[in-house]
């Protein structure tokens, strides 16, 4: 895992959240919609407007992943005090499905963001090395065809059951 030793200045100062008066931020007051059904209705209404659809199609066309879009939409609603974080998490899959439906209906080749592109793939050279090693090991045993047959026969003979309850041939 890569460790970043550089100090990060893109973070809030410890205690910064306590510098504002409690309740002055939208997310510190009770949410506008408290249930999943109400929140789904809110998003359905918002996303079915033509302006939103056009903007969304543009953003999808630019190559922004659906997962990032859905997360940004729900997070901004949390910050606006529309719904709580837990309701946002519950609604996320529905938001993604809705965004993908808009993308499909607009005929856009969008990035769903579900595939991990950073996942390391098995290199072809490594596969080739394993195959060559295996072939060397097999040929390195130095057995001729006759010897191999003899070894096989011995193994078959050994496999015969010899217990008291074994069936006699």
């Amino acid at each position: 895992m890569e460790i970043n030793n550089q100090p990060s200045f893109d973070a809030p100062i410890p205690g910064q959240s306590l510098t504002m008066e409690l309740g002055s931020r939208p997310w510190q007051s009770p949410a506008q919609f408290t249930t999943v059904d109400e929140t789904i209705d809110y998003y359905m209404e918002r996303m079915s407007s033509e302006d939103f659809m056009v903007q969304l199609a543009d953003v999808l066309e630019m190559g922004t992943p659906v997962t990032v879009l859905a997360n940004t939409i729900q997070m901004s609603s949390v910050m606006e005090g529309v719904h709580t974080v837990d309701v946002g998490m519950l609604v996320l899959p529905m938001l993604m499905e809705m965004i993908m439906m808009i993308g499909d209906s607009a005929g856009i080749q969008y990035d769903s963001g579900l595939e991990n592109k950073d996942k390391p793939k098995t290199r072809d050279t490594l596969i080739a090395k394993v195959i060559s090693d295996y072939e060397k090991e097999v040929s390195g045993a130095g057995l001729s065809d006759r010897e191999e047959k003899e070894v096989k026969e011995e193994v078959e003979e050994e496999e015969e059951p010899k217990g008291l309850m074994a069936r006699r041939t």
Binding site: V36, D37, V68, V87, M89, P93, M94, M96, E97
Partner: protein
């Protein structure tokens, strides 16, 4: 740019719509021919069974997703 953790990926992958569809079909309400007497079988699902609990918000979200997925399949099927 580093890839930050996105809860949407996990939430979407955990939403097993195929399993939901199977359960949803099996729990469709049966139309009984008998009247609604006092001793008639109630339609409230028991907690031990694998029936869907519609009071669960995740189940309701899955139901909404099912409808949207159906539309998506129709759109993609036309192409």
């Amino acid at each position: 740019m580093s890839r930050q953790y996105n809860p949407a990926i996990t939430a979407y992958k955990r939403m097993d719509l195929d399993g939901f569809n199977k359960l949803d079909k099996s729990t469709e309400p049966e139309k009984s021919s008998s009247g609604g007497g006092l001793l008639s079988r109630s339609s409230i699902p028991s907690k031990n069974s694998k029936e869907l609990d519609y009071s669960n918000p995740a189940v309701r979200v899955a139901k909404q997703m099912q409808v949207i997925r159906k539309y998506r399949d129709e759109i993609n099927g036309d192409k």
